[in-house]
C-alpha cells in the first residue's frame, strides 16, 4: 500500500480526485482511502506532518511492503511547476539529514530539500524549501526502510514569483500537474514493496504448528529456523503430516530429520 502525507487540503484535492479516494475519517486528521492507497492531510509544518504520519500508521498498522510519500509544494530557485524527487532532506534547525534511496530509475529530476519553520522567500541559488519534509521523514523513516520513504515536491514559488501571491487553486494546480510523476513513483514502490513482502517470514505456517504443540521459546526459535530451511528447500511441511509426534521435541526432531534428508544444492 502507498501512504500519502500531504500538508494542505488544496494540495490533497487533485490527488483525491485523480485516484478517486473517499474520506474515511475526519478527526483528528482527515484520512482518505483509495485502491491500495491512503492519504492523510496533516496541516502545515514539520510537527504536524510527523504527527499525522504517525497517526496514519497507528490508524492502520503498516505492512512490510508499505511505502510513504510526502507530496506538496516547495519554494526554490527552479522553474514554477517543475516537480522533483528528493534525494536529501535537511532539517534547517537541527541539521539532521535524511537520504531517501532509489533502487529504481527516478521518474523525474532529483533535488535537495531544506525544511524550515517559517515560510521562506526564495533567493537566487536557493535549494528547495518546504515546511514539512524533515518532520515527515523523522517518522516515516522509522516505519519503513529508506527505499520506501519518498518526497515529491512541486515548485510553487521562486525568486521571481513570491509565495504570498499563491492561492489555494494555484496549489491544487501545481500538485495536480505532478500526478504522472507520482503515478510512476507509486508503480516502482508497489513493485519493490511486493518484493519486500515476499521476503517476510510465513508467520501463518509457524502459527499452524504452535497451535498443535505446546512449545517453549527455545523450541519456537528452533521451529522458526527449521521452517526457514524448509522454505529454502521449497518444502512446505504441514502439521497433519506430523500428527504422530506426541510432543514438540518429537515434532522438531522429525522436521529436522526430514530436512536433513534433502540436499539443498
Amino acid at each position: 500500500m502507498i501512504r500519502l502525507v500531504v500538508a494542505l487540503a488544496a494540495e490533497a484535492r487533485p490527488l483525491i480526485a485523480h485516484w478517486r479516494m473517499r474520506r474515511t475519517r475526519e478527526r483528528p486528521w482527515p484520512v482518505y482511502a483509495g485502491d491500495n492507497l491512503r492519504l492523510v492531510v496533516s496541516g502545515p509544518g514539520a510537527h504536524l506532518s510527523a504527527a499525522a504520519t504517525g497517526y496514519l500508521a497507528a490508524h492502520e498498522p503498516p505492512a512490510t511492503g508499505d511505502a510513504w510519500v510526502n507530496v506538496g509544494v516547495a519554494g526554490g530557485d527552479a522553474e514554477l511547476g517543475a516537480s522533483f524527487l528528493i534525494h536529501q532532506v535537511v532539517d534547517a534547525a537541527s541539521g539532521v539529514r535524511f537520504y531517501p534511496q532509489f533502487p529504481f530509475p527516478l521518474p523525474g529530476p532529483g533535488a535537495r530539500l531544506v525544511t524550515v519553520a517559517q515560510p521562506h522567500a526564495p533567493k537566487p541559488g536557493d535549494p528547495l524549501h518546504d515546511m514539512e519534509g524533515s518532520g515527515f521523514v523523522a517518522v516515516a523513516g522509522r516505519l519503513a526502510s529508506a527505499e520506501m520513504v519518498h518526497l515529491l515536491k512541486v515548485v510553487s514559488d521562486n525568486p521571481q514569483h513570491h509565495h504570498r501571491k499563491l492561492k489555494a487553486s494555484d496549489l491544487s494546480a501545481r500538485v495536480g500537474s505532478a500526478t504522472d510523476v507520482l503515478a510512476s513513483l507509486m508503480a516502482s514502490l508497489d513493485r519493490i514493496g511486493a518484493e519486500l513482502e515476499q521476503l517476510a517470514p510465513d508467520t501463518q505456517l509457524e502459527d499452524s504448528f504452535t497451535r498443535g504443540w505446546r512449545m517453549s521459546s527455545s523450541q519456537r526459535h528452533r521451529l522458526r529456523a527449521l521452517l526457514l530451511r524448509a522454505r529454502a528447500l521449497r518444502l512446505t511441511p504441514r502439521p497433519d503430516q506430523y500428527r504422530q509426534c506426541g510432543d514438540a521435541g518429537a515434532l522438531l526432531d522429525a522436521l529436522q530429520s526430514r530436512l536433513d534428508q534433502s540436499s539443498p544444492l
Binding site: Y99, I192, L199, D260, L265
Partner: protein, 331 residues
C-alpha cells in the same frame, strides 16, 4: 552502472572524484559530510539497493591498514589487509558483506596516497598485504584504477600484495610488466554452485581463462577455494574444478592454493537469510559454534581433508594453505 554519487565535502575536488563524475555525467551528485551518514543508517535494504547501487566517494580516516588474523597468510610472517572500497559489484549468497553492512552502495576511498604511505611504512620483506577483504580487488578497476595506482607503489616495495578477485578485468595487468611480488588470486566454487550462489559473477570458465592469460604473461597467480560449499556430488564437482583449474595453470606455476571453510558470524547469517530466504544456501544443515555459523564439524573436516589430499596431486604441499577459521573474507 551507478544510480547516484554521494560525495564527502572533503573529497569534492579530489582528482579521482572529478574523474568519476566526468565518467558518469548524468548521475545525481549529492553532497554529504561523512560517508557513514548514508552508509551506516539503520533502516535501509541491502537487497533492494543491490539492484541499483550508488557510489559514495569518501576519505578513509583512522587506521587504513590492519593486521590480519593470526593464522591468515600465504607464507609470510606479517600479514595485513586494507580496503580501498566497501562492497562489491557481484552478489554471492555466502558473502559476508551482506551481513556486515546495512547498505549495498559502494564506498570508494579515493585517498590512495594515504593508504600507500601507510603500507610503505609497514612494508618489509616478510610482510604480505591483502586487498579485496571488503570488496573484489579488480571488478571495478576501469572505474577506480586501484591496481594501476597501487602496483606502482608495490614495484618499489619488498612486501607482497595479494589482489583477490572473481573478476575478469585483467586488461590493465596484461598491459604492463608483471611484478614478482604481486599475486593475483582467483576465487572459485564449482560451476554448478557458482550458477546458484554467485550472482553477476563471470563464469568459472571465463575466470580460469583470465587467470591463464595472466600466468602466461608472467604474473604470479593463485587460487582460493574459499569458502568450500558442501553439496551433493561434492567430491566429483570439486574434482572437476581442480582438473579444469590446473589444466589451465599447472600447479608448478601456481603461487599458492588456499582452502577456506564456510563461516559466517551468526548475526551475518541471520541478516543474509532475511535478504534471500529462498536461496538453497540457507537450506544447508549448519551449526553455530562460538557465535559462528558453519557446516557440522565432521562434514567440514572431511571436506577440507579430502580437498587437501586431492590438491596434493597438483601442487606441492608447501604451497597449500588453510585459511584461518575466521569468517570467510570477500573477493
Amino acid at each position: 552502472m551507478i544510480s547516484a554519487a554521494y560525495v564527502e565535502e572533503e573529497v569534492r575536488d579530489h582528482p579521482r572524484t572529478r574523474k568519476l563524475l566526468e565518467r558518469f555525467p548524468g548521475v545525481p551528485v549529492i553532497p554529504i559530510e561523512r560517508y557513514g551518514e548514508v552508509f551506516n543508517r539503520g533502516a535501509q535494504s541491502f537487497r533492494l539497493q543491490k539492484a541499483r547501487p550508488a557510489i559514495i566517494l569518501a576519505r578513509k580516516h583512522g587506521r587504513r591498514v590492519l593486521t590480519a588474523p593470526a593464522d591468515y597468510g600465504i607464507g609470510r610472517q606479517r600479514n595485513y589487509y586494507f580496503s580501498h572500497m566497501l562492497n562489491c559489484v557481484y552478489d554471492c549468497r555466502y558473502c559476508f558483506l551482506q551481513g556486515r553492512y546495512r547498505s549495498a552502495h559502494y564506498v570508494w576511498f579515493v585517498n590512495y596516497e594515504e593508504f600507500m604511505a601507510d603500507i610503505s611504512a609497514q612494508a618489509s620483506p616478510d610482510s604480505c598485504f591483502f586487498s579485496g577483504y571488503d570488496c573484489d580487488s579488480l571488478a571495478l578497476e576501469p572505474v577506480t584504477g586501484f591496481a594501476e595506482s597501487f602496483l606502482d607503489t608495490f614495484a618499489d616495495l619488498p612486501a607482497w600484495l595479494e589482489l583477490r578477485t572473481k573478476s575478469t578485468q585483467v586488461r590493465g595487468l596484461l598491459d604492463r610488466d608483471p611484478l614478482a611480488n604481486v599475486i593475483v588470486a582467483f576465487s572459485f566454487t564449482p560451476g554448478e554452485i557458482a550458477r546458484l550462489l554467485e550472482d553477476r559473477v563471470p563464469s568459472v570458465t571465463r575466470r580460469i581463462d583470465a587467470m591463464r592469460r595472466l600466468a602466461d604473461h608472467g604474473w604470479p597467480v593463485a587460487v582460493r577455494f574459499d569458502p568450500l560449499i558442501l553439496s551433493r556430488d561434492f567430491e566429483a564437482r570439486y574434482q572437476r574444478l581442480f582438473a579444469e583449474v590446473f589444466a589451465a595453470v599447472p600447479g608448478g606455476r601456481m603461487h599458492s592454493v588456499c582452502l577456506g571453510a564456510f563461516r559466517l558470524p551468526a548475526s551475518y547469517w541471520q541478516r543474509a537469510l532475511r535478504l534471500h530466504p529462498d536461496s538453497p544456501l540457507f537450506a544447508a544443515q549448519v551449526q553455530t559454534r562460538n557465535g559462528v555459523v558453519s557446516y557440522p564439524r565432521e562434514q567440514e573436516t572431511a571436506a577440507l581433508a579430502w580437498c587437501h589430499s586431492r590438491l596434493r596431486r597438483y601442487v606441492e604441499k608447501d604451497r597449500i594453505f588453510s585459511l584461518s577459521p575466521e569468517p570467510a573474507s570477500a573477493g
